[in-house]
């Protein structure tokens, strides 16, 4: 090949590559032109993290994201009221709700080939209906200074909270709160019951003399700050936030029936059947379980990532390392309720009748 030919080939090749890059770039930049994706999620910092990390990436691809804020219970109620026509394309779903979503056929199948980040999840954390997005570790969060003052040992079980010195100083989740069902189920197990028999759990709860039942985790942070409570049953993330707000609190993962240590509540993402933004919804789910977002999200909120690489990185944060169980063996020992065995309506009815002061 002559030098001139080589030169021409090189120029043509360079031009070809440049055109290809330009075309590819143009295609990517416009991938979601004119697309508005609506996401049903919690408000506050929870939404804020998604706005800070995922939204700019989506906007760079030409799309727009709108958040419909509310708890998963509230969003499910909107969905039912709209007879399946959701005001959102994707929604955060709690493990206790999955059965209802499947029964009502509110979800559309997920094409897992479009979620490459699933490779960093455990196999059971995704299927064609849902993809795991985070999990919480429901704990006993207690004020170490107050326990020392009162001469109380570090609690290890829920029963340890039934101490006269803690009367009116304990806050536990209301059944309507995000952590309500998971913890109620855990109390049932701790009292000797299970998903089908929650009465032992109610008996145990009534023995605790709780000050109140919190409905939003933020209340617990305020109660620790004001000194109203010395201990609370709450997910580790709220304990982390209480610590960051100045209360000397730490977590205990309760021992339940000598079989489980800690309680696991799982969050999922699902695509609504009524959604027309299928591609964008898959893209969003993939971004949500991306290592960097999962790490950033978990560091601020205290939930545990589903992304294994992000879990490994959490150990870098001393507070999270102290308050969360991050080793796989420890996570596997946590109680994970089987809600297919539970009648949530009956749970709520029994709770209402037993726990309230009538």
């Amino acid at each position: 090949m002559t030098r001139l030919k080589l030169k021409k080939t090189a120029i043509a090749g360079a031009l070809g590559v440049a055109c290809a890059v330009l075309l590819a770039g143009t295609a990517t930049a416009g991938q979601f032109d004119g697309v508005t994706l609506r996401v049903g999620t919690w408000g506050g910092a929870w939404k804020g993290d998604q706005e800070a990390v995922i939204v700019p990436k989506f906007e760079a691809l030409g799309g727009k994201i709108e958040f419909v804020t509310g708890s998963p219970q509230a969003n499910l109620a909107k969905l039912i009221a709209g007879r399946g026509k959701a005001p959102f394309d994707i929604m955060e779903i709690l493990d206790a709700q999955i059965g209802d979503f499947l029964k009502a056929k509110f979800l559309q199948p997920i094409d897992l080939s479009k979620i490459p980040n699933k490779a960093d999840l455990e196999d059971w954390q995704y299927d064609t209906n849902k993809v795991g997005s985070w999990f919480t570790q429901e704990t006993i969060c207690y004020n170490q200074d107050k326990f020392r003052e009162l001469g109380l040992a570090r609690p290890t079980t829920y029963s340890d909270l039934a101490n006269a010195k803690l009367k009116g100083r304990l806050s536990i989740p209301d059944i309507t709160s995000g952590g309500g069902l998971a913890n109620f189920g855990a109390f049932a197990y701790a009292g000797g019951g299970d998903e089908k028999n929650v009465q032992p759990g109610l008996k145990l709860i009534n023995s605790l003399n709780a000050l109140k039942f919190w409905s939003r985790g933020g209340e617990v942070v305020t109660q620790f700050q004001s000194g109203d409570v010395y201990a609370a049953v709450v997910h580790a993330g709220w304990c982390v936030r209480a610590r960051k707000a100045g209360a000397n609190v730490t977590t205990v993962h309760p021992v339940i029936n000598d079989k489980y240590v800690g309680v696991h509540k799982h969050g999922w993402l699902g695509i609504m059947k009524s959604s027309k933004q299928i591609e964008a919804a898959h893209w969003y789910i993939n971004q949500f379980i991306d290592e960097d977002f999962q790490f950033a999200f978990a560091t601020r909120s205290g939930v545990v990532p589903v992304n294994k690489k992000a879990i490994a990185r959490l150990a870098e944060d001393p507070v999270l390392k102290e308050m969360l169980q991050l080793a796989k063996a420890d996570i596997d020992r946590q109680l994970r309720l089987d809600y297919t065995k539970a009648d949530i309506g009956a749970w709520t009815d029994q709770w209402n009748r037993s726990v309230t002061k009538q």
Binding site: G345, V355, Q358
Partner: protein, 284 residues
């Protein structure tokens, strides 16, 4: 040609029918059908939800608590509000307008903020408990969270501003000269209040009290936040039945019972007021 002023009622009528009556109708109708779960209801008309309500002590005690806390909140709101309203209504300085503006502004503050303010004041290390423990009245902090006292205080906090405004407008309609005349004829201030002001203001006070009572019966936020999940009023139970249990029919039944209870109590009050008028104990 005579102007047909009644046509002005038409927009309000359409608004009420479309947005209030129709939505209430859906729930009231649903209350006569069985819940099938996930917001689905049966297709056979029956009284199953009403039977359940009136045969279950849990629901009956919830109704009783709702009426009790609302009545107590109304009573204390009236007792606290009347002197304030009287003072402002009879004030001759510019302070009257400033105080009245203060009352109006207080009603603008969202109830969530008001209730959280109460929670902070009544917290274990809050102002009130520090004071009470400091002067030795209580040994352990007193809390208003998770009990009926707290709900009553919360409802009062919600309604007091409205109560003062309602009573102010009632007292304004009573000529000051009547009070002066009573006192010129030798009545003491206390007797003047008892024999002149009270009978003259009673119809207005009754209407104001009913409005406060109705507001309290339907109040959700104060009861939910200060009740702390331990005190159930009907609005709290309706929210739980709707959102948590997703039983629309039962929630409709609870809403219907609440509505009927409020209507009956209002009608009873009007009836009693008429009897008092007939007995000339009230001047209308």
């Amino acid at each position: 040609m005579q102007a047909r002023w009644e046509y002005l009622l038409l927009p309000s009528f359409v608004f009420v029918v479309l947005l209030i009556v129709s939505s209430q109708y859906v729930f009231l109708k649903g209350s006569f059908y069985e819940d099938l779960g996930l917001g689905q209801i049966g297709d056979t008309f029956d009284w199953v939800n009403y039977n359940k309500f009136f045969s279950d002590t849990f629901y009956l005690s919830t109704l009783w608590i709702t009426v009790k806390v609302s009545a107590l909140a109304t009573l204390f709101t009236m007792l606290l509000g009347f002197p304030v309203a009287y003072l402002i209504a009879r004030m001759r300085s510019q302070w009257a307008m400033i105080l009245l503006a203060g009352v109006v502004v207080s009603t603008f503050v969202t109830i969530v903020i008001k209730v959280f303010g109460l929670i902070i004041i009544f917290s274990a290390d809050g102002l009130l408990n520090k004071f009470l423990m400091g002067i030795g009245i209580v040994d352990t902090p007193y809390t208003i969270i998770g009990n009926q006292t707290g709900v009553v205080v919360g409802l009062m906090h919600f309604t007091l501003g409205f109560g003062v405004l309602l009573l102010y407008s009632v007292i304004q309609t009573i000529p000051r000269s009547l009070e002066d005349a009573a006192q010129i004829h030798g009545a003491s201030r206390w007797r003047m209040h008892l024999r002149v002001l009270l009978p003259l203001s009673l119809p207005g006070v009754t209407v104001g009290a009913l409005m406060i009572f109705n507001m309290s019966m339907g109040a959700f936020t104060s009861a939910a936040l200060l009740g702390g999940g331990r005190v159930f009023t009907l609005p709290v139970l309706i929210q739980r039945t709707m959102m948590m249990e997703i039983k629309y029919s039962m929630a409709g039944t609870l809403a219907a019972v609440l509505l009927i209870a409020v209507l009956l109590i209002n009608l009873l009050s009007v009836f009693l007021l008429r009897r008092l008028r007939a007995a000339r104990l009230v001047i209308a």
